[in-house]
């Protein structure tokens, strides 16, 4: 059905999300070498991934008439 909505959500939303992530990282507030920062970055990325997977699976379940 409306795959456009799914793509729009994660592409346009993803652009905002990425800007919010990259700018402080590049500005030096966070570092991959710091264990606490690394854990924070991974948590944020996993949270985003969680929504991508959950809503994609939901979409597929609905689309195949499940």
């Amino acid at each position: 059905m409306e795959i456009t909505a799914l793509l729009y959500q994660f592409i346009v939303g993803g652009v905002f999300f990425t800007i919010g992530l990259i700018v402080p990282w590049r500005a030096g507030d966070f570092s991959w070498k710091n264990r606490r920062d690394r854990r924070l970055l991974i948590s944020i990325l996993l949270a985003c991934l969680f929504y991508l997977i959950m809503q994609s699976v939901w979409y597929l379940y609905a689309a195949r008439g499940g």
């Binding site: 409306e2 729009y8 905002f16 992530l21 507030d29 949270a47 959950m54 809503q55 609905a62």
Partner: protein
């Protein structure tokens, strides 16, 4: 998705037994007592506005759920669920977009600089003029919002229980005003914690009972039309509920505004014991509790649609009344009362947060800087309490105004829609773009708001941003994209021609200078090495500056003299209620692992010295 008062004009259907009403009355008594009990933990403005900055992440996360779920959420999202299906969850499931801005930028900047509000931040980041402008916007937005929440709550309770609108509004406003005035943020957090739990349990219980009534998951799912089963609405139709409009208005504009501009949320996150806890709290909120909240407030609508398909509900059921209709039909005596209590929980938890938030802005951004500077904390606490009562009173006065003049209700909606995109752009650029100047911020707020207000009168201005949405609805949702783009353009143009502040003046106030913000917070070089959290015994001692530990404990904590440590009662379920932050003032060379604490800190943290405690290094 803002819902006008007219949308609540459903038939008055009084359902429920005497037991249900006793459950609701019992709930009111419980919440009032709960709020009043925790008033004893408030003795300073820091405690009144931020609960003493001592709480654990899980406690704040649950309390946030009750605050997010507004006074009309059950009615509104059940109606959307009934009309459009499971895509009614969209508004709650797009908060992840704001996550990186919040966790890496906004929250650390506010927390480490000890800013209490957006106007406070704008005064330091820009100038007084921009701070005043932000104060006016935030206060108008919040006070009007108290009135709207009280009014919509009165209408909703009238429709459900047949109670008089003004009687129920006065009862709820008085209950909230009393415990907020006495207990401040701690009472708000504790009552909202209870209400968040009740709300989630009731929403889930309703769905489980509904599935049973329908005959299981298969029957429920097959009763939903195909288009009702997707996580997203149709891309750009219908104009009342389409994906792209909700994405820009709710997912971007309102979500950024909720977490960055809503004073209630700012204070809630500042109530946590550390920046690390704010991050944990927000992640848990986004990952677990927001999906649960979306499900809790919407599922009555999905059940209703499936029940219509299976002939268990009439096809002409009023969508705005579907929540009460479904709950009334499937819940037994007492359970219906519990579900209605959950709805009331949603109503009260938004109002108490707003009352406390208005008080914070009025005292910290108006009274303290412009009316009486340099007074004692006790004086400001008294003023904060008076303002809390006044805010509730003002909200009450606005109820008949909103009820009598729909145009005023609409005007507040238009005001909020106008200022939100401009405020969002100003906040994001303030922390992410060093060159963004005071002049640019001022004109972004003013010009951006005017641009959106113009588009309400001339909807054609929004056409280039409408993504093909039918203009018949006046571009109610896609207007947010127009507002964001217009405000962004003004910000860009004015910044190009206005003088920016020197880089040194912005240290700690923008991304890229978080280290300086941490230094400011600590008053020394931050210590971010990994350390352990230890169980310990306390001893009150007059002879120490603040906190003293022996070398063995200091090494386990990885702490040095001057570091900020956090001492809390070891009972996890207190969530930090009995705890205190202190400077590590001394490292001893003896073998005694007892932590020595100054008497003033024992009193401040309400520490029960004979109990077991925990100690950890914060920074």
């Amino acid at each position: 998705m803002p819902l006008g008062a007219a949308s609540f004009a459903m038939d008055t259907t009084v359902i429920g037994t005497r037991l249900d009403y006793w459950v609701i009355v019992g709930y009111f008594v419980l919440i009032f007592s709960f709020g009043f009990y925790f008033a004893r933990f408030t003795r300073s403005t820091k405690e009144f506005f931020m609960g003493g900055q001592r709480f654990s992440w899980w406690l704040i996360t649950f309390s946030c759920v009750a605050t997010v779920v507004g006074s009309y959420s059950f009615i509104k999202y059940s109606a959307a669920g009934f009309r459009y299906g499971t895509s009614s969850t969209m508004s709650y499931m797009n908060d992840w977009i704001v996550m990186s801005f919040l966790l890496l930028g906004w929250l650390p900047i506010l927390y480490f600089n000890r800013f209490l509000s957006v106007p406070d931040y704008f005064r330091k980041r820009f100038d007084n003029r921009t701070g005043v402008m932000a104060t006016i916007i935030v206060l108008m937005y919040m006070v009007g919002y108290i009135g709207i929440n009280l009014y919509t709550m009165g209408v909703a309770l009238n429709a459900m229980l047949g109670t008089d609108i003004f009687v129920s509004v006065v009862v709820v406003a008085v209950i909230c005003a009393v415990y907020v005035t006495v207990g401040g943020q701690t009472s708000v957090i504790m009552t909202d914690l209870a209400q968040g739990v009740i709300l989630l349990i009731a929403g889930t219980l309703l769905f489980v009972i509904g599935l049973g009534a329908l005959g299981g998951w298969g029957e429920f799912w097959s009763g939903l039309p195909l288009l009702h089963r997707f996580p997203f609405a149709q891309f750009n139709e219908p104009q009342q509920f389409n994906f792209v409009g909700i994405f820009w208005q709710d997912g971007i504009s309102n979500t950024f505004a909720l977490y960055m501009m809503n004073q209630g949320f700012i204070l809630r996150f500042l109530s946590l014991k550390s920046v690390n806890e704010t991050r944990k709290s927000f992640l848990a909120l986004i990952l677990i509790l927001m999906p649960l909240a979306a499900f809790a407030v919407s599922n009555a609508g999905w059940l209703g649609r499936s029940m219509v398909t299976h002939g268990m509900l009439p096809a002409d059921v009023d969508p705005n009344g579907v929540f009460v209709e479904v709950a009334g039909r499937i819940c037994g005596p007492g359970v219906f009362g519990f579900v209605m209590a959950a709805l009331t929980a949603a109503l009260m938890s938004t109002i108490d947060t707003l009352i406390n938030a208005v008080s914070a802005v009025a005292v910290n951004d108006v009274y303290r800087p412009y009316i009486r500077a340099g007074a004692s904390d006790k004086h400001y606490l008294g003023v904060a309490r008076i303002v809390s009562l006044a805010a509730a009173g003002l909200g009450l006065i606005l109820v008949p105004v909103f009820a009598s003049f729909n145009s005023i209700y609409v005007a507040h909606g238009a005001f909020t829609a106008s200022v939100t995109p401009a405020m969002v752009v100003a906040i994001v650029l303030a922390m992410y773009w060093r060159r963004f100047s005071a002049t640019a911020a001022f004109w972004t707020l003013l010009g951006g708001s005017i641009l959106v207000a113009l588009s309400i009168m001339l909807p054609v201005l929004v056409t280039p941003f409408s993504h093909g949405v039918d203009p018949a609805g006046g571009f109610k949702y896609t207007r947010a994209l127009y507002g964001l783009a217009g405000s962004g353009l003004i910000a860009l143009l004015v910044t190009l021609f206005a003088r920016s502040r020197q880089a040194g003046e912005l240290e700690g106030l923008v991304v890229g200078s978080l280290w300086q913000a941490k230094q400011r917070y600590k008053g020394g070089k931050p210590n971010e090495d990994d350390g352990l959290k230890l169980g310990c015994l306390l001893c009150e001692s007059d002879g120490v500056g603040e906190v003293s530990v022996n070398r063995e404990v200091a090494e386990s904590l990885n702490a040095r003299v001057g570091d900020i440590v956090y001492v809390s009662d070891a009972r996890w379920w207190l969530g930090g209620l009995r705890s205190v932050h202190a400077k590590l003032s001394d490292i001893r060379d003896d073998d005694d692992t007892t932590v020595l604490v100054a008497p003033a800190l024992v009193l401040e943290g309400r520490l029960q010295i004979e109990r077991r405690h925990k100690i950890e290094r914060i920074i």
